[in-house]
Amino acid sequence: MFDNIIKRPGISNKQQPTGVRDQGKLADSTGSSHVIEFIDINKSYGENKVLDDITFYIRDNEFITLLGPSGCGKTTTLRILAGFEQPDSGSVTFEGRDLLSVPPYLRKVNTVFQRYALFPHLNVRDNIAFGLNLKKLPAAETSSRIEQALKMVDLKGYENRWVDQLSGGQMQRIAIARAIVNKPQILLLDEPLGALDLKMRKEMQLELKEMQKTLGITFVYVTHDQEEALTMSDTIIVMKQGKIQQIGTPVDIYNEPRNAFVADFIGESNIIPGRMKQDYEVDFCGNSFICVDKRFADEEVDVVIRPEDIQIVAPEGRALSGHVSSIVFKGVHYEMSIETENFSFLVHSTDKAEQGSLVGLHFDPDEIHVMAKSAFSPDIYKTDENGDDSTNYEEGSW
């Protein structure tokens, strides 16, 4: 029954700083080198602290995603990388050298902007050629690189179009072409798919991932869309209120959320207040359950059970049972609310239960995930999101 313990990966701390502050390329446990190191970055706009001791590493050739709700500081982090913002304190290094003193136009990074930011006075060709013209490359090379870039984004033959003759998806592709044509070491993408419709977004997600592999460069991607992050990333950094909540692979983040915020933000979840009795045993909903976690002995905890991990069974002899209070058909599955004595469980199942009927709930020990209490625990953190959607840009000059 405890076989699963061995299979479960530990909470991923691979990327967390280990206190090493040496200048120079660091190698972590995976052996990859860090191309970017963000160390103790703080940034405030007036009273409003947008980045609070942000520390993380970016490895060579990885697809890393900064994920979080509006105003969590993810865009500010990206803008510090691009050079459009300066932090109040902390350091950023690029291949071991200080990056903060380098002006944006000398950095080996290129950005794909949220609303494309194409030059409206130039046609597609001149938009893409902008960076190459500044480098004064020979005309033949400029032409061949533009052609390659257009081929990469699947828009060959659009050279002479004007920007206002393009659709949103095409503008996005041109914005990507304009950035990758310069062969940056790191490509920064600021919610690039935000303005596209769902179908286009899904297509572009796969294309971007493919592009990153083909180009063999580092992508730093900013999004508030958890599904996008899970689909594309090698590493996800979950941010909230200017703090990093968790760093890990998509699988780690989904299966082993560090706190209630991460559990709730990444996918849907039932977060139940509980108490760890002893190792491998947790109390919640008035019952004792066997689980696979062994930390937090005799502590109040949050228990996470994903809706798709709960099976609906016959109520007889089950520890948890309740009435089905709502059923919504979602295509692939039914989304049901089941009211037990202490908690309303969200369940995703391909089998439909009858509305109002009494059903039992079953989940295996390895489907119970125990987290430490945090400021985001549902019984502590009552008022979520006070509607502060404004991304904080400094009122800077150009």
């Binding site: 002006p103 902007f113 949220q114 930011a117 194409l118 030059f119 960076g131 009122e395």
Partner: protein
């Protein structure tokens, strides 16, 4: 339907105060009276304007006064040329002074550094009557005016500021500068900051960013400003009348005199029509050029 009803007062207004006067001008330009008071159709007005009987050396942009080229043209053509040169030079000076001002204002607006006060200072003179403002320049520039009195302390002068190209050019630049600054300022403000950041991101330093992105994107404002300065500068009669001391003839004064002094409505109207055609033609050229630059229709 409702919109059309609401439009009637404006249509009426235009008929009475724009279309009818234009028709009258056209009527006067092509008619005259014989000795017995009969009205007849004629080209006399245009003929006398273009007549080579009395000619002077063309002084377009200093062709005669600066470069000594002697090209004889009818007097009125030279008046036209002088007006055009003054208007062009004033517009150019307004652009050279106005663009940096607009740029600084726009930058301060973006940084929220109290640009509204600066902008207010620019607009403030526009709240005063143009006549008063121009009279104020008279007091400043007169041979025994404020500036010359000050210069006399250092035994300089008196310098002749008035009744020449300098005085009239100064009056025009002073009066029309806000009309250059405001449209450029508003276009600069509207430039999306992310476009400027994109330029920097792609490797452009601040000079290159200005030359390749900000300046081209501000072209609609420049065209609009040129339009709003050049047109009134070309047709003004108030400024040359006051600062030129009544001795300095530009096309605006020439028309005024034909109507008010000579009472020769035929020649006055013919001159008006020539000026109107010229202004419309230059507007057309400007609009065409602007569209070629895909700047967007600020001129409408």
């Amino acid at each position: 339907m409702r919109m059309q009803k609401l439009a009637w007062p404006y249509i009426l207004w235009m008929l009475v105060f724009t279309i009818a006067p234009l028709m009258l001008v056209a009527y006067y330009a092509f008619t005259s009276y014989d000795s017995s008071g009969n009205i007849y159709f004629t080209f006399e007005g245009f003929k006398s304007i273009l007549s080579m009987e009395s000619t002077v050396a063309l002084d377009f942009l200093g062709l005669n006064s600066l470069f000594g080229i002697d090209l004889q043209v009818p007097i009125y053509i030279n008046v036209f040329a002088k007006s055009l040169s003054l208007a062009l030079v004033s517009t150019l000076i307004c652009l050279l002074l106005g663009y940096p001002a607009a740029y600084i204002l726009a930058q301060r607006s973006r940084k929220k550094q109290g640009s509204s006060f600066l902008l207010f200072m620019f607009v403030l003179p526009m709240w005063m009557n143009a006549l008063l403002r121009t009279y104020a320049w008279l007091a400043l520039l007169e041979p025994n005016g404020i500036i010359n009195s000050f210069l006399s302390i250092f035994n300089v002068g008196p310098i002749q500021f008035l009744y020449n190209d300098f005085g009239i050019g100064l009056g025009m630049v002073y009066n029309y500068l806000p009309f250059m600054v405001l449209p450029i300022h508003s276009v600069l403000l509207k430039i999306d900051r992310s476009v400027v950041e994109a330029a920097e991101d792609l490797g452009a330093d601040s000079r290159q960013t200005f030359a390749r992105v900000i300046f081209p994107l501000s072209m609609p404002g420049i065209f609009s400003g040129i339009n709003m300065v050049f047109m009134p500068a070309m047709t003004t009669f108030l400024i040359p009348d006051l600062l030129g001391g009544g001795r300095y003839l530009l096309i605006g004064n020439a028309i005024e005199r034909q109507y008010m002094v000579s009472r020769d409505y035929t020649v006055g109207s013919a001159l008006s029509i020539m000026l109107l055609v010229f202004v419309l033609a230059s507007l057309r050229v400007l609009t065409r050029y602007e569209q070629d630059n895909s700047g967007g229709g600020v001129l409408g």
